[in-house]
């Protein structure tokens, strides 16, 4: 029952958003010329704002004349391609992020020294970095898709490192003292005390990292021109916006759904991992 009511709520908000879209369009078109009055922030003609039902209809139209594959199936295949790049990026990012967190936990010196660099890393615009990574990849052994995964990893390691370190430091001094009184080694303390305590910090970071990995993969594809994923599809349809804006919207919707999907996966993993946590706290 709870699940049903939740789905109903999501559907209701979705419908409300569509109604706002169509309502804005309708009002704009009824009080002005085709595109609506010029003081509106977004023109309301079909080119700028295609009807929601036209966007939905685009999903079931063939992706190319004379081919039986629909746009929906094509987008699904593209999403699977992007998901694989994102998954590899997420895995690398999570491992690197956790590794950095452990290094910073271990060494006070590196803790001080690394943090500003980690922060700087995220202020470098991704589009500046992407061509460099792709060129590196091509002059070595990396394929373009692996280079894209590295770009995704670049975005994902950050929240894992930052939250991971906070989580590893989160046990109260008494617990750390207790471990010490057992003569537990540094690693034993990490594994038995710090990492379990870090869960509450890590999983929110994983959720963020999962969606970021999709963003990174899509941006990387767009930047490097990798064929097969959603980024390429978005760029492709953006270039032909005039002759089919609803296709671009459909591709953007697909990218959003992929982000939602990985968030849901991370959420699921969190629920499993955190099971019994409430008992533990008491």
């Amino acid at each position: 029952m709870r699940r049903l009511s939740r789905l109903l709520a999501i559907a209701a908000v979705g419908l409300a958003l569509a109604a706002v879209w169509e309502g804005y369009k309708l009002i704009g078109q009824s009080i002005g010329p085709e595109g609506g009055p010029s003081w509106l922030p977004v023109a309301t003609d079909d080119l700028t704002m295609p009807h929601t039902w036209d966007i939905l209809a685009a999903f079931v139209e063939p992706v190319q004349r004379g081919r039986s594959e629909t746009l929906a199936v094509f987008l699904l295949r593209s999403a699977w391609f992007t998901l694989r790049e994102a998954a590899l990026g997420f895995a690398i990012g999570a491992i690197v992020g956790l590794g950095l967190a452990l290094i910073m936990l271990r060494s006070r010196f590196l803790d001080r020294g690394l943090v500003p660099w980690i922060n700087i890393s995220q202020t470098v615009p991704l589009i500046a970095l992407a061509p460099i990574v792709v060129t590196w990849g091509r002059t070595t052994f990396l394929s373009d898709t692996q280079a894209v995964s590295l770009i995704a990893a670049y975005l994902t390691f950050f929240p894992v490192a930052v939250n991971g370190l906070a989580g590893l430091k989160s046990p109260d001094p008494a617990s750390v003292e207790l471990m010490r009184s057992y003569a537990a080694s540094w690693w034993q303390t990490v594994i038995k005390l710090r990492l379990p305590a870090a869960r509450a910090y890590l999983f929110p970071a994983f959720k963020l990292a999962a969606t970021l990995s999709v963003v990174g993969a899509i941006v990387g594809e767009i930047s490097a021109g990798v064929r097969g994923g959603l980024g390429r599809v978005i760029l492709d349809f953006a270039g032909r916006y005039t002759t089919g804006p609803e296709k671009l919207y459909a591709a953007v919707v697909a990218a959003g759904l992929l982000g939602l999907f990985v968030f849901w996966l991370a959420n699921l993993a969190e629920r499993r991992a955190m099971r019994g946590r409430a008992v533990e706290l008491s």
């Binding site: 060129t135 471990m179 038995k192 767009i222 021109g225 993993a269 008992v279």
Partner: protein, 384 residues
């Protein structure tokens, strides 16, 4: 003495930890099993001592603009010249001549002015085959706007993509004595025709093989039918005399002179010319090749595009890929007078010797294409 782990530990952290490890492993496996399709053509033709692996960097995605190269791959022309060619598509941040110079690609397709800007910055790239003999850039307006020559720009809003795409237009305006900003307004335009159709600008920049067709694939709200060529007025920079050379094959200047690279370059150009000649003589089959390589591309749009690309290549009076000195000089004149280049490039910036050797190599293939003429292409809505 070794003390055992704490027995008073609140709860084994092992399970979630294993779960995390399993998730990461799964992600790695999923990603790894995905990295499959690096299908290199199996072996070369029978007469090859060895097959050279060659990569070609495009400026943009698969579309009929690059049809000849795709056809040369799919129809086995490269293979016949003992080449295993990988085509690298362009992206937003990919600058082909930089990819070439960095060693990430063996050859690159680039417009002449852009590659020469890189060359002026010290990137040693050399034009070894001038495939497009004409410029595909137009300035398009609605017929009722009355903009049929650059003189009509006066006082109007003229769209341009910028980023180096504006120089034919600016030079064209100057032929009529018009200065940008003083005599007409240059408006930054997106890479689509929305601003023209919405009436935000009076004339829009368009490639004859892409954006111009996009207008003709759009419904005219006044008639309920597609826009027709007679609804539009076109200024062709080739006619005005301010055209600049576009798609050419560029090679790595640091490697030219090396015997193996020279030989490979000649074979690469020869097979590419064969690909383009095939696309000239088998337009339908060539469009199929393009569509197979670009699964979202519109069929009629690509038919149109190939037709117009053929018109940019054929006829090639000096033979396909051979530079027309007059057009090169015109390109350089405009580039220097518009400030794109500080000075004319050195004499090594292009060479016709590889293209000429390639023409020798392809034998009795028609490399001029005098007999070719445009076919009639019917565009459908949205270019489908």
């Amino acid at each position: 003495m070794r003390t055992n782990t704490a027995t008073a530990e609140p709860r084994s952290g092992g399970r979630w930890w294993r779960l995390l490890a399993a998730t990461l492993a799964l992600a790695l496996v999923a990603a790894a099993c995905g990295d499959d399709d690096d299908s290199s053509a199996a072996g070369g033709g029978g007469d090859c001592d060895g097959v050279d692996e060659v990569s070609l960097q495009l400026q943009w995605f698969a579309q009929a603009q690059f049809a000849g190269y795709y056809a040369a791959v799919d129809e086995g022309f490269y293979e016949a010249y003992c080449l295993d060619v990988t085509i690298l598509e362009g992206g937003v941040d990919i600058v082909p001549q930089q990819q070439l110079a960095s060693g990430a690609a063996d050859y690159a397709i680039s417009w002449v002015p852009r590659a020469l800007v890189s060359r002026a910055e010290g990137v040693d790239v050399v034009n070894v085959a001038q495939i497009f003999q004409r410029s595909g850039t137009l300035q398009v307006s609605f017929a009722d706007a009355g903009i049929s020559s650059p003189a009509d720009f006066a006082g109007r809003k003229i769209g341009s993509w910028g980023f180096g795409n504006e120089f034919e237009l600016l030079a064209g305006g100057r032929t009529a004595g018009l200065e940008p900003e003083a005599d007409y307004e240059v408006v930054q335009q997106n890479f689509d025709m929305q601003a023209l159709i919405a009436g935000e600008i009076d004339a829009a920049q368009a490639m004859i093989y892409n954006e111009y067709a996009q207008v003709l694939e759009t419904i005219n709200p006044e008639t309920g039918e597609l826009f027709q060529p007679e609804d539009l007025t076109v200024i062709d920079w080739n006619d005005v005399g301010t055209a600049m050379l576009q798609d050419a094959i560029w090679a790595d200047g640091t490697k030219l002179g090396d015997e193996a690279y020279d030989d490979q370059t000649t074979r690469f150009i020869a097979a590419s010319i064969e690909g383009w000649a095939w696309c000239r003589d088998n337009a339908d089959g060539c469009v199929d090749v393009v569509l197979a390589n670009g699964p979202t591309l519109g069929q009629s749009h690509q038919e149109w595009q190939l037709n117009e690309i053929n018109a940019l290549i054929w006829p090639s009076p000096g033979g396909a890929g051979v530079m027309d000195q007059g057009l090169w000089d015109q390109t350089i004149d405009i580039a220097t007078s518009e400030g794109v280049l500080a000075e004319a490039p050195d004499a090594d910036a292009f060479t016709t010797s590889y293209a000429e050797a390639a023409i020798e190599l392809v034998g009795d293939l028609d490399v001029v294409g005098d007999g070719w003429s445009r076919v009639e292409v019917e565009l459908r809505e949205n270019g489908d």
